[in-house]
């Protein structure tokens, strides 16, 4: 039986907030903006907690990388049913440049340290849409990966993952230990009930520094500029096919 599941949770700008680009075009405005747990991470936590309720795993550990505020995100995971949390302290410039490569190095190190047999992540974060961390983590650990999971079943020491792919659904069977990334239809995350929020207060969140895990946070990427998408221009309606062809020729498209 899989002993321990590591679940990564990311604190992102809430999905309902209207994003604004900073006047200096170096990024988006985050000060004073509502943040919450990445929706795909919620689905990942839910799946891990369900596995524990089915007694297929013994412990769920929620991990988040970032400054002090990410502890709120970890607490939400605890309120959903995770057993304990790990806060990897990253702040300032390091946090601004924190990306999938560094996070996956951190998660790989933690997975080894915590002797996890399963790492569940959201398929991507809604702020950068990278869709890389799960895959990179698996590669660093040399573990199998089941990404875009819409169904996960543990069968002994193997996992059956049904993946959502362009052509439909693909079913694979992978050995544990493994990395799984959650897609939208994997489950519907539960609400943190008030009694569970109270219980979460007593659960432990340990703090650790990336250096202690032997991870170098230097980024290989440099953000040059952040811009809003160009304003959509109004379209033009035409009456006949001839008009359409005429307009396309005018625009130099044909």
């Amino acid at each position: 039986m899989a002993a321990r599941v590591l679940v990564g949770v990311k604190r992102v700008i809430d999905y309902a907030v209207k994003i604004r680009v900073k006047p200096d075009n170096t990024g988006v405005v985050t000060d004073g903006v509502k943040h919450s747990m990445n929706p795909f991470c919620e689905i990942a936590v839910e799946e891990a907690v369900r596995l524990k309720e089915k007694k297929l795993v013994k412990e769920v550990v929620a991990v988040s990388c970032g400054p002090q505020q990410v502890q709120e995100t970890i607490r939400t995971a605890l309120a959903m049913g995770a057993d304990r949390g790990i806060h990897v302290e990253v702040s300032g410039k390091d946090y601004d440049t924190l990306g999938p490569l560094q996070v996956s190095k951190i998660l790989a190190a933690l997975a080894k340290k915590e002797e996890a047999s399963l790492v569940i992540l959201g398929k991507q974060a809604i702020d950068d849409d990278c869709n890389q961390t799960g895959q990179m983590t698996a590669a660093l650990l040399d573990w199998p990966q089941g990404t875009f999971a819409s169904e996960v079943t543990i069968d002994g020491d193997k996992i059956k993952v049904i993946r959502e792919i362009d052509g439909g659904l693909e079913t694979i069977k992978i050995n544990m230990p493994a990395v799984v990334t959650a897609d939208l239809r994997l489950n519907t995350p539960r609400y943190a009930t008030l009694p569970n929020i109270m219980k979460a207060k007593k659960k432990k969140i340990a703090s650790v520094k990336p250096g202690e895990l032997g991870v170098d946070l230097t980024s290989r990427l440099e953000v040059l500029r952040v811009e809003e998408p160009a304003q959509r221009q109004a379209g033009v309606k035409v009456e006949t096919v001839e008009d359409l062809v005429g307009k396309l020729k005018e625009a130099g498209r044909i």
Binding site: Y191, I197, M198
Partner: protein, 431 residues
């Protein structure tokens, strides 16, 4: 453990002898062992944080309830209003979320949280449906509190776990002939050996349709006047207890409001909650706290209504600009927003005072009175700002307008609140 009567005895001079649940301090705020984290980052050394400062627990609760109310109550609101009935699914999800036993200890299956958390919960629920908020408010601030503070160990073990998980309670004080003049109630309880026989009727009883237990105020000794009023626990289904017709109301329609009749209802004297003849004290004490809950409800109602109307004014364009951009509109909107903020601060402050074990009755009256008035003004203005659509049932605004009116009436009419405030003011100037 019997709590000492903690309310000011009606008519007598005295500061409230409230049992401090947090250590009482002479000066400054005492928000004892809870970590108070500021909502926005506060400058270091701000020893007196603003009123809108919540502990991490309170913030998590509020966010959880906000999400839950939007997703699991909002879809039912209009249907419940139309049918004048609370959906079973809504009631069961309220229990499931732990919202019906917020202050009940975990040893009884409750949530084990604080009074202020209840206030935030009620406010968030009211933003979506004030009827659901009042169900939650009565359960938490009246029923659960009475039971926790006055119940014998046996009573607590019998009722608290049920109140936290699946049973609604109902508080029965008012009668056809006694509303504001509560102590002139006529329902009698006559002693017969180990039992009391209750006869009479009650009116305007909220939650009655779904309640499993009724806290009935009846007079066990009419010769003593109001000092005979006693609180009896009457289970649903007790012979002689009839739940009468549901009122067809202007607002808060999903909250059942019924008449009750007691025809030789026999209850054992073990079913007395607290002490014989002390019921009047308990009622007053409870209503002092309940008042803050109602203030929170009216506040949420007004805010919820406002939050629907303002986005509309920012979208609706007339004469080439958003109606929000007309100065006349801006002034009205800003005016209402200011009143909302004032109502919020009155409510939060009254709640924090109560938690700190400090006198809070005057502030609670002010909060309830003001929040109800603000709700009336806000909802009325919101309909105007929305124009024709505000007047139709397709939009939620008109429901808020209908729901707000009860705020100035129940749990102590505005006039009663004002008279109580005046009494305190009078004492304050006694040199």
């Amino acid at each position: 453990m019997m709590a000492a009567p903690f309310s000011r005895i009606f008519g007598k001079v005295g500061r409230q002898l409230s049992k401090p649940w947090a250590p009482c301090q002479a000066a400054g705020r005492s928000i004892s062992s809870r970590t108070v984290e500021v909502e926005q980052t506060a400058p270091a050394g701000s020893g007196f944080p603003p009123l809108q400062t919540f502990s991490e627990e309170e913030t998590m609760m509020r966010d959880a309830v906000k999400k839950y109310a939007q997703e699991r109550i909002a879809p039912f609101v209009s249907k419940m209003d139309e049918n004048s009935s609370m959906d079973d699914e809504v009631i069961s999800s309220l229990f499931e979320q732990g919202l019906m036993g917020i202050e009940i200890g975990t040893e009884y299956g409750g949530t084990g949280s604080t009074f202020f958390s209840s206030i935030l919960v009620i406010e968030e629920l009211a933003k979506v449906d004030p009827s659901v908020a009042v169900l939650c408010d009565i359960q938490n601030t009246l029923i659960n509190t009475l039971m926790s503070k006055l119940g014998t160990e046996e009573q607590k073990e019998k009722y608290l776990p049920r109140l936290a998980t699946d049973m609604i309670g109902s508080f029965c004080l008012s009668e056809a002939g006694s509303g504001s003049d509560a102590f002139s109630l006529k329902t009698k309880a006559e002693k017969q050996n180990d039992y009391y026989i209750i006869n009479g009727s009650k009116m305007w009883i909220s939650n009655a349709e779904n309640a499993g237990v009724f806290l009935v105020m009846a007079n066990a000794d009419t010769s003593a006047g109001y000092r005979g009023i006693t609180c009896f626990l009457v289970d649903r289904g007790t012979e002689g207890l009839q739940i009468g017709k549901k009122e067809n109301k202007l607002g808060l329609r999903a909250s059942s409001t019924c008449t009750l009749s007691f025809d030789n209802v026999k209850v054992h004297e073990k079913n007395i909650l607290g002490k014989l003849g002390q019921g009047y004290k308990y009622a007053i004490g409870m209503l002092n706290e309940g008042r803050i809950g109602i203030a929170a409800q009216m506040l949420g109602l007004a805010q919820g209504c406002f939050d629907h109307a303002v986005p509309y004014t920012r979208q609706r364009v007339q004469f080439g600009k958003r109606i929000f951009d007309f100065q006349g509109m801006q002034h009205q909107i800003a005016n209402v927003a200011t009143q909302l903020e004032a109502a919020r601060l009155l409510t939060y402050n009254a709640a924090r005072l109560k938690e700190a074990g400090r006198p809070f009755i005057k502030e609670a009256c002010m909060a309830k009175y003001y929040a109800a008035e603000v709700a009336t003004v806000t909802t009325s203005k919101c309909i105007e700002w929305m124009g024709g659509v505000g007047f139709t049932k397709d939009y939620p605004i008109e429901k808020f307008y209908r729901d707000c009116k009860i705020g100035t009436i129940y749990e102590g009419t505005s006039n009663i609140q004002l008279s109580t405030i005046a009494k305190f003011l009078d004492q304050e100037y006694d040199s």
